[in-house]
């Protein structure tokens, strides 16, 4: 019996190990390793050093929250300090009130995280769902922090208390209990605190790393790179920003709770500008995208600052201020990234090593050796179990901008399948009409239907999820993301399934003949390739209706020919509407044409019919304008 078991065991170790590696993300052993290292560290250092380093790790968590919110999600928020302070106050108040009952403070710490997250979510809701501009996000979060400073500073009167905890005005809350674990009511020693902080930071840090590897991370990168594009691919950008902001707030709140437990007091200085200024300084020193850099930045800045004479040294703010200005003006990429770039330049061996260790085979084919032939493309991208093409209809649409009527009762029904062109001189209203179909403008009056469904008031991301694929006139890509990631985000926006998105993205690149360049950042592609890539993104999103605004602008004749082919492919499964200036291109498409004039549909027909129409020539040449047909 025993021996059989043994044999089975040894025989299955390798597969189990294989399966573990496949299913257990690399972050978990990473976090465990760092935690173990923290345990070793915590048992060897002197208690006063352990306290110092605990503070650094706590600050590192705060910096990490800013790296996540700013460096990764692109939200420039000053609010991290506010959530840090809220976490600290929440821990202080609840620690004092709950400790006598429960004999532990982990509940207070958890509550601090929850409270900071709730405040962040509330503030974030008002900011992001109000579509407040990026600039305003910074100012509101800053003002929020400073108003909290004023608010907390003016609570000196004993009437300001929550339970037993006096808020205490400038002096803040004193007598906050240190971290107490459930059970014995045993106070965590300085070394124990260091271990706890390292363990918490390790799991949070690797957790964020894992999150960023998931589709959510790619969507955040997309959001940071190009918000409009992300919206047009069917992602509700407000929701993603809110989630990112809330996660950042929760982490900052956790750091704040630990901070209050560390210092056993909390005062309004946690909301002060000098405190708030430290956060971007840390992150700029460590590199604003790097998760590890957050902790390295804290260690460097706090180390230097301690060497300069402790936190209270009179020159410290001047040094910090100068540092902030110098970094911003001279090293906008951050200190460590610039240094490592320099090192790579001057020590060529380092450069080679890092290229070799970099993304495997940047130049090689990322698709492996599998050859994708046309039938596969047909199955996975063009045809397949595709959605059915749908009609799109506009009924008596008006749009006024102030006193200008850009659309004055435009009605158009485009039947399912095939290509349809919209033309018209400048100012005829075709771009406004296009944006109305895409959902970027709301009509003053009139309705827009997708199939039988009213979509007049739907946001662009909602339209995208209903199957409208949009390519705007100005190329709109994720310049820093690879070509593959660009189309992948499009596919995932429609399918919400990693496997299917992978397949569709590969198929779309093959369809574009861009498989070789899958790993190149989209910003490095040629102009024509970028335009194709955007059409590929539309294709990857498996649309029922495709809207293309001047898809051939700035292209050579050969590139334009390729676009004609791509559009015909698209039209096999979708209704394609093209707004175009280039009459030769419209002729090559061989599609029915609708002409706009003065905010209405002027006439429809084949391009030959329109060319033969004197009135059309009159409008284009500006000869007499009184021909309005209806």
């Amino acid at each position: 019996m025993m021996s059989t078991n043994n044999r089975t065991l040894s025989g299955s170790v390798a597969p189990i190990w294989h399966r573990l590696r496949k299913h257990v993300p690399v972050e978990i052993p990473g976090a465990v390793a760092v935690t173990l290292a923290g345990a070793v560290l915590a048992t060897t250092v002197a208690p006063f050093r352990a306290l110092d380093w605990s503070l650094w790790v706590i600050f590192g968590l705060l910096a990490l929250s800013f790296t996540f919110v700013w460096g990764r999600a692109g939200i420039f928020s000053f609010g991290q300090t506010a959530f840090f302070g809220i976490g600290a106050y929440a821990y202080g108040v609840l620690g004092i009130d709950l400790f006598p009952q429960t004999g532990e403070t982990t509940t207070a710490l958890v509550a601090a995280v929850v409270i900071a997250a709730v405040v962040a979510a509330t503030l974030g809701y008002f900011i992001f769902y109000g579509n407040v501009g990026d600039v305003y996000v910074s100012i509101i979060t800053l003002a929020f922090t400073l108003v909290l400073l004023t608010f907390m500073s003016s609570t000196a009167d004993p009437s300001y208390h929550i339970g037993q905890a006096l808020l205490g005005g400038y002096n803040g809350i004193v007598g906050v209990p240190p971290l107490m674990l459930p059970g014995g009511g045993q106070m965590v020693s300085p070394n124990g605190l260091l271990f706890t902080c390292v363990a918490v930071a390790a799991f949070i840090g690797f957790g964020i790393h894992l999150l960023l590897r998931r589709p959510f991370g790619r969507i955040l990168a997309g959001l940071r790179e190009n918000e409009l594009r992300t919206e047009l691919l069917g992602y509700d950008v407000r929701r993603y920003k809110l989630v990112a902001f809330t996660i950042g707030g929760a982490i900052a709140g956790l750091a704040g709770g630990l901070f209050a437990a560390w210092g056993t007091s909390v005062n309004p200085n946690v909301f002060s500008l000098p405190q708030a200024a430290l956060v971007p300084i840390w992150v700029l020193v460590g590199g604003r995208r790097s998760l590890l850099g957050a902790f390295v930045g804290v260690a460097i800045v706090q180390g230097v600052s301690d060497a300069l004479g402790g936190g209270g040294g009179s020159a410290t703010p001047i040094v910090l201020g100068t540092l902030l200005i110098a970094v911003v003006v001279l090293l906008p990429e951050g200190v460590l990234p610039t240094l490592s770039a320099l090192a790579r330049r001057f020590v060529p061996a380092l450069g080679r090593a890092s290229v070799a260790a970099g993304p495997a085979g940047r130049t090689g084919s990322p698709l492996g050796d599998s050859v994708i032939d046309d039938s596969v493309i047909d199955d996975t991208v063009i045809g397949g179990e595709s959605r059915k093409a749908t009609s799109i209809t506009a009924v008596d649409v008006h749009k006024r901008f102030g006193g200008v009527a850009a659309l004055a009762g435009a009605s158009l029904e485009v039947a399912p399948n095939g290509v349809h062109c919209l033309i018209g001189p400048n100012g005829a209203g075709k771009s406004t009409f296009f944006n109305m179909l895409a959902g970027r403008y709301r009509p003053t009056s009139g309705t827009v239907l997708l199939g039988d469904e009213q979509i007049t008031l739907r946001r662009p991301d909602e339209r995208a999820r209903r199957g409208i694929g949009i390519k705007l006139q100005v190329p709109s890509l994720y310049g820093e993301l690879t070509a593959f990631e660009n189309v992948w985000l499009a596919a995932y926006g429609a399918k919400r399934d990693i496997g299917e998105a992978d397949v569709r993205a590969r198929g779309a690149l093959a369809w574009l003949h861009l498989s070789e360049k899958a790993r190149q950042p989209a910003g490095e592609l040629s102009h024509g390739e970028r335009q194709w890539l955007e059409i590929g993104m539309v294709m990857a999103s498996d649309p029922k209706v495709v809207l293309l605004d001047e898809p051939t602008a700035g292209m050579t004749r050969e590139e334009t020919m390729r676009v004609v082919e791509l559009i015909h492919d698209l039209a096999r499964t979708a209704t394609v509407i093209v707004v175009e200036h280039d009459m030769e291109f419209v002729r090559q498409l061989g599609a029915p044409v609708t002409m706009f004039h003065e905010g209405r549909i002027f006439t429809s027909g084949s391009i030959e019919q329109l060319r033969a129409d004197e009135r059309v020539l009159d409008i284009y040449l500006g000869r007499g304008t009184s021909h309005a047909a209806h």
Partner: protein, 290 residues
């Protein structure tokens, strides 16, 4: 409870001075934001400098009102220097501008601490008080209201009725085109930054007699100033006046009915709720409606 006429007059006055306070501490910031798109995180420190220069002037025997004007001009001059040395390299880089002016604010606070010490200074509130029925009202709060109207009017005239104002607005709307038609954009930006800084200095000077003049006073006011500018939106004069009216009114009413702490909280809540529905502020909303 019936409201007596004197009580009403007193409430109205406290409302007006609360509004005036917000307007004078925000106007300089609004000029820099509305005209140049610059978010000056050292704004609070410009206020603080205005207060300290006024203090210095008074200590050297200057008349208070003269000291205030000189303080505003001195802060304006500092603004010009800051623009030349720092800001001009950062136009169009919003986070960079914010971070750099943030660094500047840390430096300014510490420099003032080194010169004046961290302790609180003060100027006795000038003028006396007048009696309205059972209430006594400081005459200086009337001065504050007058000064707010004066500064808003001055800003309006400078921006709309002077050659400089026209060029400044042109330089903001289309810098390249303005340069092409002969506007010296560099010089105009420098002047605008100086003008906004001087207004901040004037705000600080007006604060000097009614608050503790300490190096850290900037951050006491700058949060409210930012809220006012954000709620006001891009229109400098109309935005500041309307936002100060709304937020100052709410702050004053809630403070009078409850406590000043809740007044501050109410200001914050109202500002955030307004931005949910008017994301470009009050003046931005008007502009879109027009």
């Amino acid at each position: 409870m019936t409201v007596q006429p004197d009580q009403l007059a007193n409430l109205t006055l406290s409302l007006l001075s609360s509004i005036a306070l917000l307007a004078v501490i925000s106007l300089g910031l609004a000029v820099l934001f509305g005209m140049m798109g610059v978010i000056n995180l050292a704004h609070g420190e410009f206020l603080m400098l205005g207060a300290f220069f006024t203090l210095t002037g008074v200590r050297h025997g200057l008349n208070l009102w003269v000291a205030m004007v000189l303080a505003a001009l001195a802060v304006g001059a500092i603004g010009v220097v800051v623009e030349r040395l720092l800001i001009q390299h950062l136009y169009g880089r919003m986070p960079a501008t914010m971070l750099a002016t943030w660094g500047l604010s840390l430096i300014l606070v510490q420099v003032v601490v080194l010169i004046y010490g961290p302790a609180s200074n003060g100027i006795p509130t000038p003028l006396g008080s007048i009696r309205i029925g059972d209430y006594s009202v400081s005459e200086y709060s009337l001065v504050l209201v007058g000064a707010a109207v004066l500064l808003l009017g001055l800003t309006y005239l400078v921006l709309t009725r002077t050659r400089y104002g026209t060029m400044a607005r042109a330089a903001v709307m289309l810098p390249d085109m303005a340069a092409a038609v002969g506007v010296d954009v560099r010089r105009t930006n420098m002047l605008t930054f100086g003008f906004g800084s001087a207004l901040a200095g004037a705000g600080g000077a007006l604060l000097a007699p009614i608050t503790a003049v300490v190096p850290s006073m900037g951050q006491t006011y700058v949060g409210r100033a930012f809220m006012t500018v954000v709620v006001g939106g891009p229109g400098v004069v109309a935005g500041t006046a309307s936002a100060a009216g709304l937020l100052g009114g709410v702050n004053s009413l809630v403070s009078n009915l409850t406590t000043s702490v809740l007044g501050t909280a109410a200001l914050l809540v109202v500002a955030i709720v307004i931005l949910r529905f008017l994301p470009t502020g009050i003046s931005g909303y008007w502009e879109r409606k027009r």
